[in-house]
Amino acid sequence: MSVMPVRPLRWLLPVLLLLLLAGCSGSLKWYVVSPLTDTGRSNLLFLLGGLKYTVLLSITAIAISIVVGLLVALPGISTSRWLRGANRVYVECVRSVPILVLILWVYYGLPIVMGISVSVFWAGVIALALSDSAFEAEIFRAGIQSIDRGQLEAADSIGLGYMDRMRYVVLPQAIKRVLPPLGNQLVYMLKMSSLVSIIGMEELTRRANELVTAEYRPLEIYTVLILEYLLLILLVSYGVRRLERRMTRDER
């Protein structure tokens, strides 16, 4: 089974050029974001400056949500009805809250409940991680449950305990199977990080909004914003695919 090599940047460049050309002929004022003018350059740098916050926020949130998701998934496959119930309550409650609402609640509500102030960054991380963890938990549960019973029995029959069985037999196989939906979730989270702009996080979307207010060129600036997300997500997809190929080596 061979996978076609993916080169996301090969067709991204023509798209960018086409947009720039279109700008020359119409009423579009690409110079506000063109790398060829001084204003454009400084505007572009300002927009791209949000990149590191978006990336940092997403990576931190996803790392936390994967750990929490796994911890939530495990009781979901327990033989105990109470543990399974706890898993259901968590998943259903958390995934029913819109992410935007969760962000507002964590940023404005949590300080009142806990008596501590939460920075914009950590409010974003907590809200995204919390929401994501419910989805990750379902992905992991499905992955673990898809492992053949015979594998569990074989692990039992060579005297492995629960932890060893999970670590050496079940999870390595389950993670390989859930990589595609996990990659999906990664992309989804990266996009949802734009919502954190609402509480003033200086990430990609917030910066674009600020520039639009200053320059009054929404079409041009938001187009650049879209390209920024596109670039980011194509890179993530590429990374996930490579990982998938590496992890399925034993299947070829």
């Binding site: 015979g150 029995e153 050496y168 196989q173 034993d250 299947e251």
Partner: protein, 247 residues
């Protein structure tokens, strides 16, 4: 070594095991046969605690594995399973691990051997099943017969006192059955205690000390191969032999 007293198990309305009494001595080779659904697999799965019977007592080396529907503690169960090897119909090798890693996992994690010791052990038993050259391959690169021999080696790496075989050749292509049966025959010659569920009557006649014939969850006959094959004492046994030998 193993004793079952009045062991019973039901799945809903289906009586899988019905008052089984059976004793297997150290060094004995026992073949269990019978029509499908007669409870053969359930019986040997109960011996290493993969299934828990609803009633009766199973003892291994004098220790109760299960009594009246409750199993031994998890820690004791793990200990039991290092003493009782199991070979499955579907092999159940770990597909994400190389052959060598399949073999060393149990010794390293359950028996706490060092990697070097575990690998030495693994290579010794790969030799024993005649596939030392496959150590670095992955299970799916092997034929069914080779996979089952790896599975046998994986169990042997635990250096068990008793080996259970649950229809080890039923999922194999015909031309691969003999290579697995040969390995099992050689294992029997080393004096290993074995309980084998199988339809391979040639193997049973050649290797078994005793034949246990089961039907509808009960032991119908428990006798020597000679007497079972020449003059089965139960009508169901005779019928079963007719069907399996004249197909």
């Amino acid at each position: 070594m193993v004793s079952l007293e009045r062991v019973g198990k039901r799945y809903g309305d289906f009586q899988a095991l019905d008052g089984i009494d059976l004793t297997v001595q150290h060094g004995e080779r026992v073949v269990i046969c019978g029509p499908s659904g007669s409870g053969k697999s359930t019986l040997i799965r109960c011996i290493n605690g993969l299934e828990v019977p609803d009633e009766g007592t199973i003892r291994f080396d004098g220790k109760a594995v299960t009594t009246a529907g409750s199993s031994m503690r998890a820690r004791e169960l793990r200990q039991l399973r290092t003493d009782v090897g199991m070979v499955f119909q579907q092999f159940n090798l770990f597909p994400h691990l190389s052959v060598l890693d399949n073999l060393t996992l149990g010794p390293m994690r359950a028996r706490k051997l060092s990697r070097a010791d575990a690998e030495a052990l693994a290579r010794k038993y790969l030799d024993r099943v005649h596939i030392p050259e496959q150590a670095d391959k992955f299970p799916r690169q092997l034929s069914g017969g080779q996979q089952q021999r790896v599975a046998i080696a994986r169990s042997l790496c635990m250096e068990p006192k008793l080996m259970l075989f649950d229809e080890p050749t039923s999922a194999l292509d015909p031309e691969m059955i003999s290579e697995v049966l040969d390995v099992m025959g050689e294992l029997a010659e080393t004096g290993m205690t074995m309980i084998v569920v199988t339809h391979e009557m040639g193997f049973a006649r050649r290797v078994a000390d005793r034949i246990v014939f089961m039907d509808k969850g009960q032991v119908m006959e428990d006798t020597t191969p000679e007497s079972f094959f020449t003059s089965p004492s139960s009508p169901r046994g005779a019928e079963f032999l007719q069907r399996i030998l004249n197909h």
